[in-house]
């Protein structure tokens, strides 16, 4: 029952943190539970338990392929949270710490959910738990961002609930019991009612796509990521979106079992490319480096969608990309958080010459930017190259061309912004502000560690990790 512990331990930690008296020491619970969670996840990763087909929760191959990445990301972010919250001593952190742990627990639940309804419950719960994290800064802008996050995300999540019901009805109509466990649905396979399956697919894709941030449902992302603290952004981009992504993967597997795989793949392909294109265009123009990260996230969600649409090798590549994107986005969000603190404002107009004000963070930010734009030898390079290869092997030449074109536009946009804030002369007014921010090891090490992980993940991808992705593909798309 370690897999349940993955969910319950952080939740217990949340209670503990909520009950803890002292603001100053409370953040220490974050790394403590982060370590426990990572340890549990690692134990499960190396010794995957057997999961009963009908169980509602379980550390199945898909959870094994993705959840450790989230755990790892959380661990590093929690280490960053300690110095961060010390810097923000003016704000009470009881809710923040407790909810960060709650989010971790719920994310573990979402990743392990093998029941459509529970998956929905977990996703919605994560959405809600993240709300106070978003408006941690307490500014009017933060509340505005939260409001949009809630309503757009809420609409999306409502649609995915409707979709879940439709899938249940597909089962009922096909003569099943309306059992919403993925195993039962997949087993029913071609027995599912096709019109209802397709309706469900549309609703679930749009619903969870909203949560993932696929265009045109991505509108909440730049606001939320722009206003949230860096760690929250990193966890949203690397953790919450992945729950939605695995949800789509699981549903896609059911749709495939029902015999509608090709249609589903075409929609995913199109939606993925559309997201990439829209994100790339946004990136070409945006002037705010935290919003930039949000658009970049939209782009990478598009890559995940595209990879999933390419079939077996593509799905494996997409799972790889979940890891590489999550870790690399972590680098960017954490270093962007440093730059934001030093510059005061995250826009190109305010922040200039950061290479002089905060040389280390700026260097990490540039390295992270190169990493996320598929520069070898960082992990996204390998995963995106696998997507390219899978697409070409599947004969999707045009899609790959569009993919590469979007990557180029995104690269242009990202480099424009990043070098715009890193190079040049700092504004005199900001120099004074920046002096108050000190680049201590505590705020430099976490992004650096993530960068190292991204590097290592690319260069020396452990065989067991590759094997876990392939196992997940086998789970989702069993070859007859």
């Amino acid at each position: 029952m370690i897999s349940l512990c993955l969910i319950l331990v952080p939740l217990a930690g949340a209670l503990l943190a909520a009950a803890w008296r002292e603001d100053r020491t409370r953040p220490l619970w974050l790394p403590i539970f982060g370590v426990i969670h990572a340890g549990l996840a690692a134990a499960l990763f190396f010794n995957p338990p057997a999961v009963a087909a009908e169980s509602w929760f379980g550390f199945d191959p898909l959870a094994r392929a993705v959840l450790p990445a989230v755990s790892l990301l959380f661990l590093v972010c929690s280490a960053y949270a300690v110095p961060y919250l010390r810097l923000r001593a003016e704000r009470p952190n009881r809710v923040f710490v407790a909810l960060l742990l709650t989010v971790l627990g719920l994310l573990s639940a979402g990743h392990q959910a093998r029941h459509l309804g529970l998956l929905w419950v977990a996703t919605e719960a994560v959405t809600l738990a993240a709300v106070p994290l978003l408006h941690f800064n307490g500014t009017a802008r933060a509340f505005e961002a939260t409001w949009k996050y809630l309503l757009v995300g809420g609409t999306g999540i409502a649609l995915s609930l409707l979709g879940s019901f439709c899938l249940g009805y597909a089962s009922l109509h096909g003569g099943g019991r309306g059992d919403l466990t993925f195993a039962a649905l997949t087993a029913q396979g071609a027995g599912l009612s096709r019109p209802w399956v397709l309706t469900a697919w549309v609703l679930l894709l749009v619903g969870y796509g909203t949560k993932m941030g696929l265009a045109p449902m991505h509108t909440w992302k730049p606001d939320a990521y722009g206003q949230a603290p860096g760690i929250v952004g990193a966890l949203l981009a690397g953790g919450v979106t992945t729950v939605a992504f695995t949800a789509i993967l699981r549903v896609r597997s059911v749709v495939g079992a029902a015999g509608e795989g090709p249609v589903a793949d075409r929609t995913l392909l199109l939606l993925g490319l559309f997201s990439m294109g829209v994100a790339a265009l946004f990136l070409l123009g945006t002037r705010d480096f935290k919003r930039m990260l949000a658009y970049s996230s939209v782009e990478h969600m598009g890559i995940l969608g595209l990879g999933t649409a390419l079939g077996g090798p593509g799905v494996a590549a997409a799972l790889f990309h979940v890891w590489s994107n999550g870790l690399t986005k972590g680098v960017l969000f954490l270093s962007a958080g440093n730059l934001h603190r030093a510059a005061g404002e995250p826009t190109m107009d305010a922040a200039r010459g950061m290479a002089r004000l905060t040389p280390r963070s700026a260097a990490i930010f540039v390295a992270g930017m190169f990493a996320i734009t598929a520069l070898p030898p960082f992990a996204p390079f390998f995963s995106e190259l696998q997507v390219v290869r899978a697409g070409l092997a599947a004969g999707h030449g045009l899609a790959v061309a569009a993919f590469l074109g979007c990557l180029l536009l995104a690269f242009l946009g990202l480099t424009r912004v990043v070098f715009g804030i890193v190079d040049g002369r700092p504004r005199p007014a900001r120099v004074h502000h920046a002096r108050r921010f000190r680049e201590t090891a505590a705020v430099i090490a976490p992004p650096l560690v993530l960068l190292g992980l991204s590097l290592a993940l690319g260069l020396f991808t452990p065989a067991i990790l590759r094997e876990s992705w392939l196992a997940a593909v086998r789970q989702l798309f069993p070859t007859p």
Binding site: G117, K148, F165
Partner: protein
């Protein structure tokens, strides 16, 4: 007999949709949403079954309490706290939204025909009712500018989904169902809190003012 009553209630809910679309005052809107919540809460009890399942009863009670009482109370409180003028300056006018809503309802009935239903449900208005409510919810979310009316739209949207969920009421396990219900309630609760915070931060609940975050 039960099916007839059920259809009557669904029809009532659909009527309330139109009423929501047409109401220009916030209290009226909130009242409409509360009424729809109560109507929805009664429905599980009418769905044909051998015995009155305690689970079904629990869902009904929870729904009536949540949608009919707690949430409307929350909204009303926020409205009073905000002390907003009750006039709503809609983004999409009342007449157009009414027409769109009516058209949408008709389309929903037609669209529901296109989807195959089980014989047991073929006479039911649940599917078209669900669709009409989802549509109404979207119309309110898109067409209104006051945060509270948008929340009402969101509630109607969820009511639609609830209507659809009634089709599956007997195949969904209680744990899941209550989880869903809890999430929905907490969700609206959280929204209410944020509405309150926005009111304090912006001194208004006019979402047209919430456009500082843009490209």
């Amino acid at each position: 007999m039960n099916e007839g009553t059920l259809n009557l209630l669904v029809g009532l809910a659909m009527g309330l949709n139109l009423l929501a679309l047409g109401s220009s005052r916030l209290p009226a809107l909130i009242r409409t949403v509360a009424a729809q919540g109560v109507v929805l809460g009664v429905m599980p009890l009418l769905i044909e079954h051998e015995t009155l399942d305690w689970r079904v009863a629990a869902v009904a009670v929870a729904t009536i309490a949540g949608k009919g009482v707690v949430i409307p109370w929350l909204l009303r409180r926020a409205m009073r706290a905000a002390n907003i003028e009750r006039e709503i300056e809609p983004f999409v006018g009342y007449v157009p939204s009414l027409l769109l809503g009516a058209g949408g309802t008709i389309a929903a009935v037609g669209l529901a025909r296109a989807l195959p239903l089980l014989p047991a449900h073929s006479g039911s208005l649940l599917v078209p009712g669900a669709m009409a409510s989802v549509l109404t919810g979207f119309l309110l979310l898109i067409g209104r500018v006051k945060a509270i009316s948008q929340v009402c739209g969101y509630l109607i949207l969820e009511n639609g989904i609830y209507l659809f969920g009634l089709l599956l009421i007997h195949s969904t396990p209680l744990l899941v169902e209550s989880g869903i219900l809890l999430d929905v309630t907490v969700g609206v609760f959280v929204i209410g809190i944020i509405v309150d915070r926005i009111q304090r931060a912006f001194d208004s609940l006019d979402t047209r003012k919430l456009t500082t975050l843009r490209e």
